[in-house]
Symmetry: C2
Subunit: 407 residues, 2 copies
Amino acid sequence: MVNIAVLGYGTVGSGVVRVLTENSKKIDKKAGTPVRVKYVLDLRDFPGDPVQEKIVHDFSIILNDPEVKVVVEVMGGLKPAYEFTRAALEAGKSVCTSNKELVAEHGAEFLDLAREKNVNYLFEASCGGGIPVIRALNSSLTAEDIDEVSGILNGTTNYILSEMGEKGSGFDDALKEAQELGYAERNPEADVEGYDACRKIAILSSLAFGHTIKYRNIHTEGITKISHADMVFAKEAGFAVKLLASAYKVPDDKGANSYFALVAPFLVRNGHPLYNVNGVFNAVYIHGNMLGDSMFYGSGAGSLPTASAVVGDVIDAVKHLSRTLFVFWDSEELKLVDNGSAERAFFIRVPVEKLSDARIRFEAKDEILSDEIKDEAALITAVMSENEFERKFAEAGYVISRIRINK
Amino acid sequence: MVNIAVLGYGTVGSGVVRVLTENSKKIDKKAGTPVRVKYVLDLRDFPGDPVQEKIVHDFSIILNDPEVKVVVEVMGGLKPAYEFTRAALEAGKSVCTSNKELVAEHGAEFLDLAREKNVNYLFEASCGGGIPVIRALNSSLTAEDIDEVSGILNGTTNYILSEMGEKGSGFDDALKEAQELGYAERNPEADVEGYDACRKIAILSSLAFGHTIKYRNIHTEGITKISHADMVFAKEAGFAVKLLASAYKVPDDKGANSYFALVAPFLVRNGHPLYNVNGVFNAVYIHGNMLGDSMFYGSGAGSLPTASAVVGDVIDAVKHLSRTLFVFWDSEELKLVDNGSAERAFFIRVPVEKLSDARIRFEAKDEILSDEIKDEAALITAVMSENEFERKFAEAGYVISRIRINK
């Protein structure tokens, strides 16, 4: 039997306890031994809940109990999760987490520490909820030279954009609806400004490329400026608007690679695997030099899918109690190239009377008119660097909105 | 350094050598040691090809060389692949394969033998080419009680159906085009009759449910009867026609599970993750009791994606040279329930003058008319058992075609 402790009895923590209870037969078989929750750490009490008898308020009880071999950290945030994780690993306990902030900030550090202590630091649930993309990067796509990881990594914003696209709602109404349905927080900033997706792509790109990509260096834009008119023209041209978190490399002149990363709304063409990912679903697109296109799709959030990924990690930790699993992510920083030099096409909306100027200025490749919005037109620009686009954009002075186009 | 041998220098075998050569730096780092091809077994010689110096015609050279730790079996077929695989495992060498026939027929037997010899039998490339679905089932979705695995597992038939749907071609023309493009064999029977997909779903369902599902017991229908008219009405009603290989369980009256499996053309509704999987791409949909919907999408065939999956297995085999990885698939047979008792809705085409009779007889839930084909109508029946549907179908006598509807 292996005893585990769960830190935090919130949405994910209670899901972890439920998955371990409801699927215990299968889980024990796959782990090779019964897996039992010995403690649940929470500030609160839960009178009447069967978990109450396992509740402790003091982390040192868990830390000092040699029977606890695996600690599940599902508290979120940096404090006190950082201290607890460090102490648990130092004490020779494996840690499984869904805490994207902590993994993005200290992933490489904890992986080193885990290796030193012959235990594991596992974080499948930190990106894309129940989608097993981290294990795919670590164990399956190992023969690949991965050149792109792009994902729809935030269910809240994807729900809002899907609603705007399908129902014609404006951003504020769609956000309000998402809040009423419990898909968005009362303070939605971390989601709608792209901060959540930024942490996740920092983790995925660090794993894909092997070195640390610091989330602070990832250019991040949210979806608050996306309007109904953008949706109308995008749809007319056969695109969907998605908040993409994307990291990719481009061979430079000297044969080395330039690495780019950003989080921003993109137009995704019909036919791209991410085009049809709607509602609260998440998906991660990976392109490898041998594999070509691949995509992993599933529930990106929610108590049970996320908990299922955490428990999958717990099973792996139990099967490898004193053997560190291979994860290629070291603490060396991978320097990103400034987005200004990234080359891409842009979608712009302009007043209809500026169309002929815009056509020439932006070397338009395509032009979109709408029956609904007659005083505007939209254009697809030629491929150009972001810097060049910004210069033209400033010079023109009349562009109503602009959205990057995914290749 | 670890030496490997590749059995068969055909499409996949040559891809394996290419992946190992082009991505060698990454691969050696992930394997923790250089991985080198020492022998390539083939009946032919390849003068002028750098592989020539590694070519051997006699398997016993490989078998008796203690330096060879991993054998890549990419010959296909049962003979002599069965004997070679058995001998290699008996000799304490791990085997990595893309051979779906062999895995479907002898997977559990080889897994037992590998466990006994402390080596590995790995077959990620046997289902869905480069899609890492087998490792997801074995290592990621371990906390799940999986209730359905359904896939578009054959690129040839998916290409044909996509062409028929998009371009309005008939089956024969689409097949001919697929053959000209190299997507279909000159003898296309294994693909178009569903035999290939049947082997693959036998493997995936055995892994998902833990016991052996024999492919011979899986009801299998191909796509040769799908017509242009089916496509017209299906599209009109918002469905795509897909050859699905599907295995699922349904709780029965006594609280136990009934297991069903079949390969057949299905109508897939717009909105289902598999609806937009087009062309030669493959995808596997998995539903788990905690996870909900998930999907894995990618290149289902082709030299390099398949080879990339084989090499991913080689890396795993090298990292675990004398430690058997956990795979839950035992030799106990999982009895399937006869499809006759499976409950579902059906799509039928009927002559327009029989519409009112058909409406009542099949308890129609929906009705589809077409501007293109005016002398027919299509119906969506009520949900009923396959047996009941067959009875009504025989009694009516006028149904032009019928296709199952995916839920």
